[in-house]
Symmetry: C2
Subunit: 325 residues, 2 copies
C-alpha cells in the first residue's frame, strides 16, 4: 500500500507525500534524486558549488524521472551559465540556498520550474518572499552541512505566520533535524506544508558519499556534531562567516576549531584533509551530517527510508486525536 | 470548557494537560507558579541561584496551590540547606537544571517530591536517568536563558528512544521553543509526554520581570536573540563555559560579546548593567528570552496563555488525521 499524506505541497507538485530530498552538494546525485521522486516525493540533484560536467552526468543518471536541482546561491555568481544549463533539463524546481536569490529569479520564472528558497532567518524569508519564491524552506541550525543559528522549531511557525499574513500562496517546508516520521508529523503541526530530508538520505545506498562516512553517521549519536568554519577553510571554500557547516567532530576539528587563521596559512593541512576525504578517513576528513545523526541507525535504499518515514508519520497523525481526553 | 490533553505526565502528576511552567530564576514566583497549576498544569517556583527569604516569600504567595520548585543545580552546592527548606514546603517536584543532580537525589527521593532533571545533551540524559530522575526535560538551544547547543527537534526523539530502550518508566518533556499549541502538538509527535513553557510565561502578567522587558519580548522577532556568556560575566554569575544564556541582543552584547576577558575586568560596566536592570533599561540590561520571542505578541494572565496553547494544540491534534489521504 502506498501511504499518502496530502498538503498544499503535494497538490502543487503532484506528489504522494510532502517529502523533498535535500540537494546535498556532492552527495545528492541523479540516482538519489530519482529514487526519492520515484518513491512519491521530490528528489533534487545537488548542484552545489557548480560543476557543469558533473551536473550533466547526474541529470543523465536521473533518467526520465522528474527531479529538481539545487545550487549554493553565492557560488552560482561565479558560473552564471550553469543555471541556464540546468534549466534546459526542465527541472521541476530550482532550490537556492545561502545567498541572495534575486539575480536568478527572472531566468527561473521564465521557465516552468518552481523557485524554492532555503532561508535560515525570518529576515531572509521576508526577502525571498519579496523576490518571488514559490516555496520557502525554513532551515534550522540542527541541519547537517551549511546553516546558521536559528532552530527549526521556532523558525518554521514564525515564517508560517509571516506567510499567512503577507503571502498566503507561498508554501513552506521545514529543514534541519527531519530524520523520521516523528519529525514529519511535528513539522506539519508547526505549520509546514512539507519537509526537506538531508542527513537521513545521506545514509542511503544511493548517496554519493564514502561508505566510511555513512558508517560514521550510523555510529554517531546526536551529541557528536558541531558547527564550524574550519572544514570550509581547509577545503578552500569561501563561505561568508554567517554560515557554518555542521559536521561530526573528530581529531581535525579538535585541532583546528578556534585556530582559523593558522589553518588558512597551512597548505600541508589542506592536502592532508583532501587525501583523507578521498580515502574515506573520517578521523581527519569530517562527515557533514546534522544533529539527527543520533536517530540514524541503518544505511538503506532511499525508497525504503522514505517509506519508513511515511509509515511512522501516518501512524502518529492517525493517533494524534487519542491525546484528547 | 476545560480542554484536556492526556499523556503519561498528566496521569503521573494528576494534571489536566501536560504543560509545565518553567522555574525561571527571578521570574517564576509563587503567583505565576500557582496560576499555571490553577490552570491545570504544573507551575514551578524558580529557586534559581538560591535566596532562602525570597523562596519562602514566593512559596507563601503560591498559597495552597500545589507547585514545584526548581534550582540551578551547581548553585545549590553553595547553599545545601536550601533544598531542605524547599522540601519542607512539600513541592510536587524538584526541577534541577545545569549541573550534576547526584548529590541531591537521596534527599529528594526521601520525600514525595518527584525528581525532574533538565538536560541539554544525550550524555547528560543518560546520567540523569542513572541517577534516578523521574522526568527528563530535554532542553534545546532555542530556549531562553541558560542552555547549550543541541536543538529540541532532535534531542527529544533521541532521548525518547533511549528511554524506551533503557528506562521505560521515565517520563520525558520537551523544553526550548515551546511557545504555542503548535509546539505542544509537535512535541507530542516527537515522543514527549509533555512540555516546559518558559519564555511565553515570562510575557505573562504574573511573571516577576520589568514591564519594559516584557514589552521588549513582544516587540522582538525570533532573529533578535543570541547565546552569549557576557550577561553572566557582567552579573558576576560563575557559569561553566558550556552553558550560555539566550538573550535579546542589544548595545551591551554588541559591545562585549567576544571581549569576555576585558568585561571581567570592568567593574564600572557591572554597575552600569545592574542599574539598567533595576531601571528596566533594556538597551543595556539584556532580556532573557528564547528564539520563540517572535511568536509572542501579547502580555496576558498565565491562565489565558495556557488556555490558548491548549485550544490550539487540541485543534491540531484533532485535525492531524486530515493530512492522511
Amino acid at each position: 500500500m502506498v501511504r499518502m499524506i496530502g498538503t498544499r505541497l503535494t497538490e502543487r507538485f503532484g506528489l504522494s507525500h510532502p517529502i523533498i530530498g535535500a540537494p546535498m552538494a556532492f552527495a545528492s546525485g541523479g540516482a538519489l534524486a530519482a529514487a526519492v521522486s520515484g518513491a512519491g516525493g521530490l528528489g533534487f540533484i545537488g548542484g552545489g558549488y557548480g560543476d557543469g560536467d558533473w551536473l550533466e552526468a547526474e541529470f543523465a543518471k536521473a533518467g526520465n524521472q522528474t527531479v529538481g536541482v539545487g545550487f549554493i546561491t553565492w557560488a552560482l555568481a561565479e558560473q552564471p551559465d550553469l543555471l541556464s544549463h540546468a534549466l534546459a533539463r526542465s527541472p521541476k524546481a530550482v532550490f537556492l540556498s545561502f545567498g541572495d536569490p534575486a539575480p536568478y529569479v527572472d531566468e527561473i520564472k521564465a521557465t516552468n520550474a518552481a523557485l524554492i528558497c532555503q532561508v535560515q532567518t525570518l529576515r531572509d524569508a521576508r526577502h525571498a518572499i519579496a523576490c518571488g519564491a514559490d516555496v520557502i524552506v525554513a532551515q534550522g541550525a540542527e541541519a547537517g552541512g551549511h546553516g546558521e543559528r536559528r532552530a527549526t522549531l521556532t523558525l518554521v511557525p514564525e515564517v508560517a505566520d509571516y506567510i499567512a499574513k503577507h503571502a498566503p500562496d507561498v508554501l513552506l517546508c521545514a529543514a534541519g533535524g527531519i530524520i523520521d516520521g516523528r519529525a514529519l508529523a511535528a513539522a506539519l503541526m508547526l505549520g509546514a506544508d512539507g519537509v526537506v530530508v538531508g542527513s537521513r538520505l545521506l545514509a542511503s545506498a544511493e548517496a554519493l558519499a564514502h561508505d566510511n562516512a555513512k558508517a560514521a553517521i550510523v555510529a554517531a549519536d546526536g551529541d557528536a556534531t558541531m558547527r564550524t568554519g574550519v572544514v570550509d577553510i581547509v577545503r578552500g571554500k569561501d563561505w561568508a562567516a554567517r554560515y557554518t557547516g555542521r559536521v561530526l567532530r573528530n581529531g581535525f576539528t579538535d585541532q583546528w576549531h578556534g585556530r582559523e587563521d593558522e589553518l588558512r596559512a597551512d597548505k600541508a593541512e589542506a592536502a592532508r584533509w583532501a587525501e583523507a576525504l578521498a580515502a574515506g578517513n573520517t578521523d581527519i576528513a569530517n562527515t557533514f551530517v546534522g544533529e539527527g545523526a543520533g536517530l540514524i541507525h541503518t544505511i538503506q535504499p532511499a525508497a525504503d527510508i522514505v517509506a519508513e518515514i511515511l509509515a511512522q508519520a501516518t501512524q502518529l497523525l492517525r493517533g494524534a486525536k487519542d491525546f484528547l481526553k
